[in-house]
């Protein structure tokens, strides 16, 4: 009896291990199937979007009624967005699909621009019509290719989870599953991407509108950095490597005398400080809002940036000890709402911890003088009568994809919410309405 109990235990253990192994295997299979199903869903959604896109483009070509065209273009935007979101649901992140990306971008851009034009009473030009026709041709190719691929995918002859395994970040990316081959082939049938419109991109990818000045050397950039920092660097600032593109920068790093590393981006043209980032944590807040805003304005003035007024203020970090002051310049009675500079400062000693003038330098330029055709009172009368106006300011603002207009910013209130309504100072049209965020809402500058 004594001899047999270990055998019994081992027997039970073996049976337990077998049951456990079986359960694990079943769960694994189910999980893999669930992953495959969600990829299948994304693929079929993509196919549906492409079908809708092809149909929408065909109908947009066949009508000349502006309201109908407007409606079809809005639908096209929804479908192209939906297609991009569906592709994002597939394990294709590391598979180059430049042509497909470019196609959906072109549809989105065309629908944005043409719809805006139609809203302003202008019909499509012959070249825009040809562009839509060409996009229709691409959509038709895409639709046919997708429907040829669909039975293969639907019957599980080719699997998404297999594609996921070989395109994983740690895989070398050279492996080709039938699915990746099919997708690559499909991409190759579309038109190669042309020049991408940069007007709707965030500042790093946008070409500055004005002339920033002549090309400066790395040494000049380094000397500008030394002058810019309010705490002198401990050691000589180090030059990293340049960043090229539409808005080329030098990147320079240094360690401040308080041992905190700081990095700066300096424009290669003109040698302007574009951004500065210092990660010091602050836990004590002694400066109040007024003092923080004053400190930010003084800092800008020290760097030859004059006439700035507060646009937005926020506090965050431990105990709200970091202040974010967002400012815009005022010149000759006009506020330049798009020339934004953000200054981040420590509320313990007023040290400047961060600086971001990318939107300022992208939008800053000499502009021809313009005189408003509306008065402040007339502009205020143009907004919805349901709002209560608190103040009106004349200035310059981006109204559509980098296009500027002379506008009145009418700040007004409805119930518990505050809004800025921008009224075109020449046409009286309501160009844009923005909600004034309550202090503490991040991301409102991420436009």
């Amino acid at each position: 009896m004594r001899r047999s109990w270990p055998i019994l235990i081992l027997g039970v253990a073996l049976a337990g291990a077998l049951i456990w192994g079986y359960t694990q295997n079943r769960q694994r299979t189910q999980l893999a199937l669930r992953a495959e199903n969600s990829y299948q869903q994304a693929f079929h959604r993509l196919e549906a979007m492409v079908v809708d896109l092809e149909d929408g483009l065909a109908r947009a070509l066949a009508t000349q009624s502006p309201p109908l065209q407007r409606q079809l273009l809005t639908d096209l935007r929804v479908f192209s967005n939906g297609a991009v979101e569906s592709i994002a649901g597939l394990p294709l992140l590391n598979v180059p699909m430049q042509r497909m990306d470019a196609f959906f971008n072109r549809v989105r851009d065309a629908s944005d621009v043409y719809a805006f034009q139609l809203d302003h009473g202008q019909g499509l030009t012959p070249s825009q019509w040809s562009n839509l026709r060409e996009l229709y041709g691409q959509a038709a190719i895409l639709k046919n290719e997708m429907s040829a691929l669909e039975p293969e995918v639907a019957h599980g002859n080719i699997r998404w989870t297999q594609a996921e395994r070989v395109t994983h970040y740690s895989a070398d990316g050279a492996a080709q599953t039938p699915l990746i081959q099919a997708v690559t082939r499909l991409d190759g049938k579309l038109q190669p991407p042309g020049e991408v419109g940069a007007e709707n991109l965030p500042p790093p990818l946008q070409r500055p509108k004005g002339n920033l000045g002549p090309q400066v050397s790395e040494q000049t950039a380094i000397s500008r950095v030394a002058r810019f920092l309010d705490l002198p660097p401990q050691t000589a600032p180090q030059y990293e490597r340049p960043i090229d593109g539409n808005f080329p920068l030098y990147v320079i790093s240094a360690v401040k005398t308080n041992n905190v590393p700081v990095t700066l981006g300096v424009s290669q043209q003109g040698g302007h400080i574009i951004w500065m980032l210092d990660g010091r944590d602050v836990s004590r807040a002694t400066l109040n809002k007024e003092q923080a805003v004053d400190r930010a304005r003084q800092f800008l003035a020290k760097n030859d940036l004059h006439g700035f007024t507060e646009r937005f203020y926020d506090e965050y970090g431990d105990a709200g000890a970091i202040a974010l002051v967002s400012l815009v310049p005022e010149r000759a009675g006009l506020t330049y709402f798009n020339e934004i500079i953000n200054v981040r400062l420590a509320r313990d000693n007023g040290e400047i911890l961060g600086y971001d003038a990318s939107q300022y330098w992208v939008n800053h330029m000499d502009r021809p003088a313009q005189t408003p055709r509306l008065t402040e009172t007339e502009a205020a009368a143009r907004i919805s009568p349901n709002l209560r106006v608190s103040n009106v300011r004349l200035g310059v603002m981006d109204v559509f994809r980098g296009q500027e207009a002379l506008v009145y910013k009418v700040r007004a209130r409805l119930d518990g919410n505050e809004f800025d309504v921008f009224i075109n100072a020449l046409t009286g049209e309501e160009e844009r309405v923005e909600r004034v965020e309550v202090v503490g809402t991040p991301g409102q500058d991420a436009r």
Binding site: A13, V84, Y169, L201, L277, D356, G443
Partner: protein, 159 residues
Amino acid sequence: MRRLRRILAVGVLTGLLALAALPALSVQPPLGPATAEAQRRGDINNLRLLSMVVCGEARGEPYEGKVAVASVIINRVKSNKFPNSVAGVTYQPLAFESATNGEIYKAVTPECTRAARDALNGWDPVWGALYFFNPAKTKNKFIWGRPQVRRIGKHIFAR
């Protein structure tokens, strides 16, 4: 010999018990409430999820590297080639290792939240980068083929 058998049997049983306990050890999303700071914000989800990815991907990295990771996510949200939301970008298949291995569900430090805030407020130390990778861990040709912008800590950032 008898002792050996006993040890063996106990060993097997302990092993089985440990295996049975394994699922209970798997990573769970944090259930605690958002911090008081985050709660007063309108955009809690963006900030909270962004901070989670920052910590998951750049825990040990310098402050600038943390802001850079948050910037990549925001740049993807703004890009026409990626989903239009922080959640869409974060959970995109194959996008972030930390979402696959559960690192993003570990405790978020105030530094990660601060870095996420800075990126949301517009700071972008990687100037429009859409990708980042750890060169020691990645062989993927697609990622290596992207034009590189900067190297911060262990990560290379690319457009």
